[in-house]
């Protein structure tokens, strides 16, 4: 009997003769459970995020100024923690406990929020919440990968991102409904948020199976076994190997495009700059692009599985370029709507698809590290882009900067495509005769 290096490889080869279209899709209960965990956690975090500025100023009587000072620090910490957590999940071969720590930390932060009054307390809690988010993301995505059909990987990620985005949309809405019913009921929002977080951790702990990312080495053919008594040995995951493999092309391409990805916040500001929208509509713009994101997450994941994940990821950036262009040109209502559709399409084409792409080509036993590396590269380059664009924005104004960014993105997309297209092919494509 032939035993391959991993379950995933085995299934891939078993499916080798069939293109993605002919392998029947079956949604994994684990992916759906993880999607529900993310949905509950997003309800929890986004409901608090939506009202936190009001709480800090209105109830605690603090100004927001000090809040801005500490924000940058948290973003840096989150990136480092993300890779460390991915690496730990790979080393231990058990992503679930790492994910539980991440979701659990954010849950504990919600308890702290009920008691914090001072500024230091609030910032510590927000920091803990962010670190929790950094910890959980990569192990969770590795679990999605290992429990999905390899032919339908991007579609599985699409299911997860759809559920996740539903949570991010419900959260703020829920918070404002609570505040309407109970004026000054900030703590009610915190309690509801805590309840959602507890429920999320409970679904993760009780329902999601404690998956292993790879089979014990002793069972694998050809691999040197360090254990003589049949216990699984741990092949060491080396971070260097992860970033030296084919993944480096994905990291390079994603980083390149990340350098001209300035985030939806800037697009909304550019739309506001035309003067047709009041600032208080700002939160609803997020709701609009989220709605498109959740509607397109699965269809675009399917498209990526049938054609090319790398292709959909890269071409998805053209939707972002188009949204820059329309935000730079006009701010009338039809243009605003078009912009939101393009932004939603961009997120649907890139967020889950990048995780699928990075997971697909990471070396055996290093999927969490691989996914974490790709997500960190994107987060860091986008932060650099936002800072740089901020300065250009002031020098040249919103319109020219958005149009310039659209042009830059359009030029970089073929470059990224060249970097990636020859080196990364779909596993099913390669295995097909």
């Amino acid at each position: 009997m032939y035993l391959s290096l991993s379950d995933w490889t085995a299934r891939r080869q078993a499916a080798g003769a069939h293109p993605a279209a002919t392998v029947a899709f079956k949604a994994s209960p684990t992916v759906i459970a993880l999607g529900i965990v993310s949905m509950l956690t997003d309800i929890s975090s986004e409901s608090v995020a939506a009202i936190l500025p009001l709480y800090i100023t209105g109830a605690l009587g603090l100004s927001m100024v000090a809040y801005g000072f500490l924000d940058g620090l948290n973003q840096g910490t989150s990136a480092i923690v993300r890779i460390a957590a991915g690496y730990t999940a790979d080393r231990t071969n058990r992503p679930k406990p790492v994910a539980v720590v991440g979701y659990g930390l954010s849950m504990v932060a919600r308890i702290g929020l009920l008691f914090a009054q001072g500024f230091a307390g609030i910032t510590a809690i927000i920091g803990a919440d962010r670190i929790g988010k950094g910890i959980r993301t990569a192990p969770r995505d590795a679990m999605i990968q290992s429990s999905s059909q390899p032919e339908h990987l991007a579609r599985s990620f699409g299911i997860h991102r759809m559920l996740d985005t539903i949570g991010a949309t419900i959260g703020p809405f829920l918070a404002f409904v609570v505040l309407l019913l109970v004026p000054d009921g900030y703590r009610v929002v915190f309690v509801v948020s805590l309840a959602a977080a507890i429920l999320g951790v409970a679904v993760l702990g009780l329902i999601v199976p404690n998956l292993r990312l790879r089979r014990p080495v002793a069972e694998t053919a050809g691999a040197p076994s360090e254990s003589k008594i049949g216990l699984p040995a741990r092949p060491s995951v080396r971070f260097r190997d992860v970033v030296k493999g084919r993944l480096r092309y994905v990291l390079f391409a994603a980083g390149l495009l990340g350098l001209v990805t300035v985030g939806d916040g800037f697009v909304y500001l550019a739309l506001m700059d035309h003067g047709h929208l009041q600032t208080y509509w700002f939160p609803l713009l997020f709701v609009g692009s989220n709605a498109v994101f959740l509607a397109l997450a699965i269809p675009l994941g399917r498209l990526a599985d049938r054609t090319s994940r790398a292709g959909v990821f890269i071409v998805g950036h053209l939707a972002l370029a188009a949204s820059y262009l329309c935000a730079g040109l006009d701010g009338s209502i039809p243009i605003v709507l078009l912009c939101l559709v393009l932004l939603g399409a961009f997120y649907a084409a890139t967020d889950g698809v990048l995780a699928a792409l990075a997971g697909q080509i990471s070396p055996e036993g290093a999927t969490s590290t691989g996914i974490a590396s790709a997500q960190t590269v994107v987060a860091v380059t986008r932060l650099v882009a936002s800072t740089g664009f901020g300065f250009l924005w002031f020098l040249f104004g919103a319109g020219p900067v958005m149009i310039g960014a659209a042009v830059m993105m359009t030029l970089l997309v073929p470059v990224a495509w060249r970097v990636i297209s020859k080196r990364i092919t779909q596993p099913v494509d390669r295995a097909a005769p």
Partner: protein, 340 residues
């Protein structure tokens, strides 16, 4: 593991999940109902402060009443010669309030989906003269001798993950005068023009019909700036100064000064003598986060959140000398302004 034990383990897990869900849901609902009850008590119960029906006229201290019970969040005032006596309550609820020259500037949050913000301008009897919408959360407001209103609002992004926050400070009158967003004024910091995108302006205090002071921030630094409405300029005076407030005799400016060192932000109060240029720093045990208001030339007032009571605060008084200690001035109050 046999199929049967696997099944029963799964059943136990699902039962546990349903139990957690039921407890979480019931807990939230019970808490929400209690909070609603507390809100009812707080807004309609007996006030924690002694109150009268009518706002006093003449020289008075106008503030936001934060005593739980009837009148929570509403405009209140005490006579200047009896600040510790019972407070008169107005009808309008505000988050920040300032009264001067027969006008009241009332900045408020209007809850809803989406939540909106506005500035209402009231006359001395509490009738609305004008209102305009604000781009964000109310923060600071002041009124000049000739009736110009300065407001500062915090404009925040949707999520704390987006690192987007800025202030918008505008100056406008009820007569149609509008100086717009002060961010568009020409800024001179130590002689050179500030062009950074992250520049922010907040906390205006009026010195005359034309001159005012404010805070400019950029790159994590802050400056006290003197402004001119005529020339549309802001010129730096000293570094590390926020939320200035000019003394009634116009000789000194008091502001928040950030204590050096990393970790939690701690603001002390400092007073700058404008003619001599020297600064008196008053180190405080608790950090201050308010714009100072001068009671008279020898007394400053500021609000401080009450420990252990979210949503309640007190107004403290402080003498403008180096070793001064804050004293409780008006209990359960916020956002003081002195109408002489």
């Amino acid at each position: 593991m046999t199929g049967q034990t696997q099944w029963s383990t799964r059943r136990v897990r699902w039962i546990a999940l349903v139990a957690v869900a039921a407890i979480a849901l019931a807990g939230s609902v019970i808490y929400a109902l209690q909070a609603y009850q507390r809100y009812q008590d707080r807004s309609s119960g007996v006030s924690a402060a002694s109150v009268t029906e009518q706002l006093p006229s003449g020289s008075r201290i106008v503030f936001r009443n934060t005593a739980s019970g009837e009148g929570y969040g509403k405009i209140a005032a005490v006579p200047l010669d009896d600040p510790h006596g019972p407070r008169g309550l107005g009808d309008v609820a505000c988050d920040r309030v300032y009264a001067a020259e027969g006008l009241v500037s009332c900045m408020r949050i209007i809850r809803g989906i989406p939540t909106t913000f506005e500035t209402q301008i009231l006359d001395s009897a509490g009738r609305q003269i004008q209102a305009w919408s604000l781009p964000g959360i109310p923060s600071r407001t002041r009124i000049s001798n000739d009736g110009l209103v300065a407001t500062t609002a915090f404009v925040t992004g949707h999520s704390y993950a987006t690192n987007s926050f800025s202030t918008e400070t505008t100056i406008r009158g009820t007569d149609g005068r509008d100086y717009g967003n002060l961010e568009n004024f020409r800024m001179l910091i130590n002689g050179s023009e500030l062009t950074a995108i992250d520049r922010n302006v907040w906390g205006v205090t009026f010195a005359s019909d034309d001159a005012f002071f404010a805070t400019v921030a950029s790159g994590g630094k802050t400056w006290l700036v003197s402004g001119s409405l005529q020339d549309k300029t802001l010129t730096s005076v000293v570094e590390n100064a926020e939320c200035p407030s000019i003394s009634p005799d116009g000789t000194r400016v008091a502001f928040k000064k950030r204590r050096a060192g990393v970790g939690a932000v701690h603001w002390d109060i400092a007073v700058l003598d404008l003619a001599a240029g020297d600064e008196t720093r008053i180190p405080l045990e608790r950090s201050v986060d308010d714009q100072i208001e001068w009671l008279d030339n020898d007394t400053m007032l500021f609000g401080e959140p009450r420990e252990g009571a979210v949503g309640d605060s007190d107004i403290l008084s402080l003498r403008p000398v180096a070793n001064a200690k804050p004293q409780l001035f008006i209990e359960h109050a916020w956002s003081p302004s002195v109408e002489r």
